[in-house]
Symmetry: C2
Subunit: 361 residues, 2 copies
């Protein structure tokens, strides 16, 4: 058996947010986020994970056709200025503070992207900002958009909330690109240490390998595995998940319990089967009449709970994890090189939807 790997300690924070009401000013939302950021930093956090669509209400619960009203929910970015959000007066204060503190950020937001040809596309996005290096290290655009383009007629009589992400957003075009978070743990090997070494020997010893997903992505094993195949040690996941799931039977309380159960199950199995930590962070509570689950949770590479939120409000959960704990799973049960049989996985990409076997006679 290999000797126990050297610890790779990281203190990080899940910055759960209570609801952002439509009536809330951006300033008041940023003030709350700064409080969370400062609290996290004061407890030693080097990375703070905010939720999906952290700057606004979860507007895809409504059909909004007025382009002016709609634009208010989006942050403009472009080919000329791909990380404009960090300089926008509507958000800048957050990044400035993160830089002062030397703290990294995951921040979910609605991105209005203008490409080289002037074509505008809206994404449900997130970015990873390095406070130490004062720059955006990576951007991710949500791949698995849930819900529908058109509102579903409510046949339940219980005032179903809509889930219109497919109306507002285009599926992400950046895929699942893991990246290294510069300087996030002490003692990481650098490129110059690698000269002449077998890459296998260097695994799990460089700057931490991070993957980002958003909300519904966490239910898709494909997303987790794409990151697992890049050696991800840490998956960051912000979400806004309705607590009112009319497709499930039962009372609203039972539906919320079911939504929490599926949230946890997805994150837990993704963490275990890819031998990585995951930090899953909610925007939660009653937001503009819609009920969002809380349950912000951090899992370890064995699928065990490291910490979980206790409220449905702004709440900062700070933990210290040892990324070296990923090695055991990555080198044994989920040593992909030894155990995966890609020759039998063609269907995963050759086929998008279901193809049933032929009916029998």
């Amino acid at each position: 058996m290999a000797t126990k790997p050297a610890p790779r300690l990281l203190t990080l924070a899940a910055a759960q947010m209570g609801p952002n009401q439509l009536a809330d000013t951006r300033e008041s939302i940023l003030t709350r986020m700064l409080t969370l950021l400062n609290t996290a930093a004061s407890q030693g956090a080097k990375l703070v994970v905010f939720p999906e669509l952290a700057l606004t209400t979860f507007f895809p619960r409504w059909q909004i056709d007025d382009p002016v009203k709609k634009a208010e929910f989006f942050e403009p970015e472009s080919h000329d200025d791909p990380h404009a959000i960090t300089k926008s007066p509507r958000v800048k204060v957050l990044f400035d503070r993160a830089t002062e503190l030397g703290v990294d950020l995951y921040l979910g937001y609605a991105e209005r992207w203008t490409d080289k040809q002037g074509q505008v596309t809206d994404y449900n996005a997130t970015l990873y900002y390095s406070g130490k290096e004062a720059r955006v290290v990576s951007k991710y655009r949500k791949v698995h958009l849930p819900g529908t383009k058109e509102p579903i007629e409510d046949q339940t009589g219980r005032g179903v909330e809509q889930q219109l992400e497919k109306r507002y957003f285009t599926p992400g075009d950046l895929g699942f690109q893991a990246f290294r978070a510069p300087g996030l743990v002490d003692g990481a090997l650098t490129a110059s240490d690698a000269a002449g070494k077998d890459p296998k020997e260097l695994e799990g010893k460089g700057d931490p390998i991070v993957g980002m997903v958003i909300c519904n992505d966490r239910r898709w094993a494909e997303a987790w595995r794409c990151y697992g195949l890049q050696g991800a040690e840490l998956i960051l996941d912000g979400y806004n998940t309705t607590a009112y799931a009319p497709q499930y039977d039962g009372t609203r309380e039972e539906q919320e319990a079911e939504a929490l159960f599926h949230h946890r199950l997805s994150c837990q199995s993704g963490s275990y089967t890819n031998a990585c930590f995951s930090v899953n962070v909610a925007k939660c509570g009653i937001e503009d009449g819609g009920s969002l689950i809380a349950g912000s949770i951090i899992y370890d590479p064995d699928g065990h709970v490291v910490a979980e939120s206790k409220t449905k409000e702004d709440e900062c959960i700070v933990v210290t994890v040892d990324l070296a704990k990923c090695r055991r799973g990555k080198e044994r049960v989920f040593a992909f090189e030894k155990h995966r049989r890609t020759e039998h996985y063609q269907r995963l990409i050759e086929q998008k939807g279901v193809v049933e076997p032929p009916l029998l006679g």
Copy 2:
């Protein structure tokens, strides 16, 4: 919202087995299996699921090099007689009884296969036998073989059991082929009903769609999804899983709890994320000095427990499930055609092992 689909009721049994000691005669093992089969049938079961390597002890815990001793664990089959096991005097009584009862079987066994060229290959296999039609409907050969080819030196001083499946077996060559179980539920649409109909309308209305995995396969989301993409409603999974996992810290009791936790987590998330039932069946207890977990369990398409074994011995769990309950998940959260983004999944098949992002400077 679609109208509630018509029920598709199926009574089935998980036939958990206690240990098969090396000293046990084949006759005594078959007698126990017949008792389980008869018990299940007397309670109305139409399908009985036995464990992995149901006919023998879990011999990959030892290194056995004597070819004569080794051969005793295997059932010979060949290109000329691909389902020889059903006629073998060492097993036949089981299939004969299943035919009399009109009950279907999942049966795990070690297969010694001779191909057209006389080449012999050993597989960890299972088959699906239709009692009504008195024939093998499908065979599956374990794809994800755990463990090692060579024994691992025991550095724990606690008498670690070996897991030498990679020494004894070749990874399965049949992939993950779902199939329809003929006549397993009443009122299934037939091929002639399908004439001129949109295949989408027929989904979930024919004979039940079944997928088979064996033990360690259940930890691999790829296997579940390959079946999910064929509309599987029922995954059958026999296992022999060591309760003594020296890679986990803690007492033997804690290690067993951990092994059970990971077993359940894998089956639960596979069932939920593919909106199918799964029937997971153990060979368990202290077998030739090795401790195997029990925890035979049936999950529904929402990931909830339908039933679970209570002992570490022969135990027959009979339940009636409604396969129509798969429709909700398959048509909403896990409607693959609507939500999957295969253009971002290339890595799943282009890459077998981990490729880390380059080290930073």
